[in-house]
């Protein structure tokens, strides 16, 4: 068939019209816009705690218990009070996990301070290592979680945790612990404890976020994790943690 130049333009023009109509239609109906959905690979969660800001009010403990329906007598987070006398073992207490704060310190002459504690969300978690069935795990975004429909309640993980942050839920008979409020942080909120801390002693951090304050915090301060010799890859960093802290 002999194609004249006019024919080519006619056919080409129709094709172009068709293509642009299709593209517009696609735009309207087809390709979904870039998702706002939470992507685990974009996050690596942890927490920073400033000892010098903690006032031992217990707001974090109460908030956590409320937010996560923590059973009475068990603690996903708690605050310890240290009273350190020279040359002696530190005097430590945590009345009911400091759910109701602390009674007044009897000694006013000692070095004393508060230490909030929670699951350290260890990257090389010894508790995950020992779980026989795969009920506890480190999520792709760095949170150590428990699948309560899969846990058999053997409590091996409770034994393996160096920090004492796990417990057996008395009604569910599965192991429970701080989830770093996973249900909140994956929706852009902060953890219940950080939200309610009145002094900003506790702050949720995301190591993968280049704008996160954690990077400045780690660079500018003397920081430590609890029991660093355990090499658990703990992701809760304490500023100005005293050597007496256990």
């Amino acid at each position: 068939m002999d194609l004249s130049r006019r024919d080519i333009f006619k056919i080409g023009g129709k094709l172009l019209l068709l293509a642009s109509a299709g593209a517009t239609l696609d735009e309207i109906l087809g390709a979904a816009p870039p998702s706002e959905a939470y992507r685990m690979a974009d996050h690596w969660w942890g927490m920073i705690i400033d000892i010098d800001k903690c006032i031992g009010c217990g707001s974090c403990v109460r908030a956590c218990a409320q937010e996560n329906q923590v059973p009475a007598g068990f603690f996903r987070t708690w605050v310890e009070r240290y009273q350190v006398e020279e040359g002696k073992q530190p005097l430590v207490d945590s009345p009911n996990g400091s759910m109701d704060g602390f009674p007044p310190s009897k000694r006013t002459d000692l070095k004393s301070f508060f230490v909030p504690k929670l699951c350290n969300q260890c990257a090389s978690s010894p508790c995950v290592q020992v779980c026989p069935v795969g009920a506890t795990f480190v999520s792709p975004d760095g949170v150590v979680l428990v699948d309560e429909t899969y846990c058999i309640g053997c409590r091996y993980c409770v034994q393996a945790c160096p920090y004492g942050c796990r417990y057996l839920h008395p009604q569910k008979h599965t192991v429970d612990k701080c989830t770093l409020c996973y249900h909140r942080i994956t929706k852009g909120l902060t953890t219940a404890c950080c939200e309610n801390c009145p002094t900003g002693a506790r702050q949720l951090v995301d190591f993968k976020n280049p704008k996160d304050p954690v990077h400045e915090f780690l660079r500018n301060n003397k920081v430590e994790v609890l029991k660093p010799y355990m090499a658990t890859g703990a992701k809760v960093y304490y500023k100005d943690l005293d050597g007496a802290v256990r």
Binding site: M40, D52, K53, C54, I55, G56, C57, G58, S59, A63, Q66, E67, N68, R81, Y82, Q83, D100, G101, F102, P104, S105, R107, T108, D109, L110, S112, F113, F114, G134, A135, T136, F137, V138, S139, P140, L145, D147, T149, Y150, T179, Y182, H183, R184, T186, K187, L189, T190, A192, E195, N196, C197, P198, T199, G200
Partner: protein
């Protein structure tokens, strides 16, 4: 050779029992193990969604500000600017969802303020703390201090 085989033939039987047991085990395994197990690691991937779906109790101060912008302005300019709304007012996600249906109770001032501001040797020195009994002389804290912006 066939003699040897005949006298060793009975050993096949426990082997068969073993193999049969293994087969039963593999069938059970294929049926029972959740299909999403192992997707991200040695765990049930569905657990992540399950945990994410837990109900939220604390709305977060950014939610409160959406409606209570007046209080937020007062609050933001004072010493309590860093203190989240729900730290004193309790978990209010339900209220944020349906404000008229879930009206929150006012905080118990008598005990609430004390929980932070009672003087204690273990508290950081720069933090505002008083012997509340002596300081208040029996009055409630909010007789003098406006809780949202407590500076006098």
């Amino acid at each position: 050779m066939s003699q040897l085989f005949r006298n060793a033939a009975h050993l096949i039987r426990p082997a068969v029992v073993l193999v049969a047991g293994l087969a039963v085990f593999l069938i059970i395994r294929a049926v029972i193990v959740p299909k999403d197990f192992g997707e991200y690691g040695h765990y049930r991937a569905g657990a992540l969604e399950m945990i994410r779906a837990r109900p939220i109790g604390y709305a977060g101060h950014e939610q409160c500000i959406l409606c209570h912008d007046q209080e937020a302005k007062v609050h933001g300019g004072g010493m309590h600017a860093q203190v989240a709304c729900e730290a004193c007012h309790g978990p209010l996600a339900k209220h944020a969802d349906d404000p008229s249906a879930n009206v929150p109770k006012l905080p118990d001032v008598a005990n609430l303020c004390r929980s932070c501001h009672e003087k204690d040797a273990a508290k950081p020195k720069g933090f505002h703390q008083v012997d509340t009994v002596a300081h208040s002389q029996g009055m409630l804290c909010n007789s003098c201090h406006q809780p949202h912006n407590p500076q006098l």
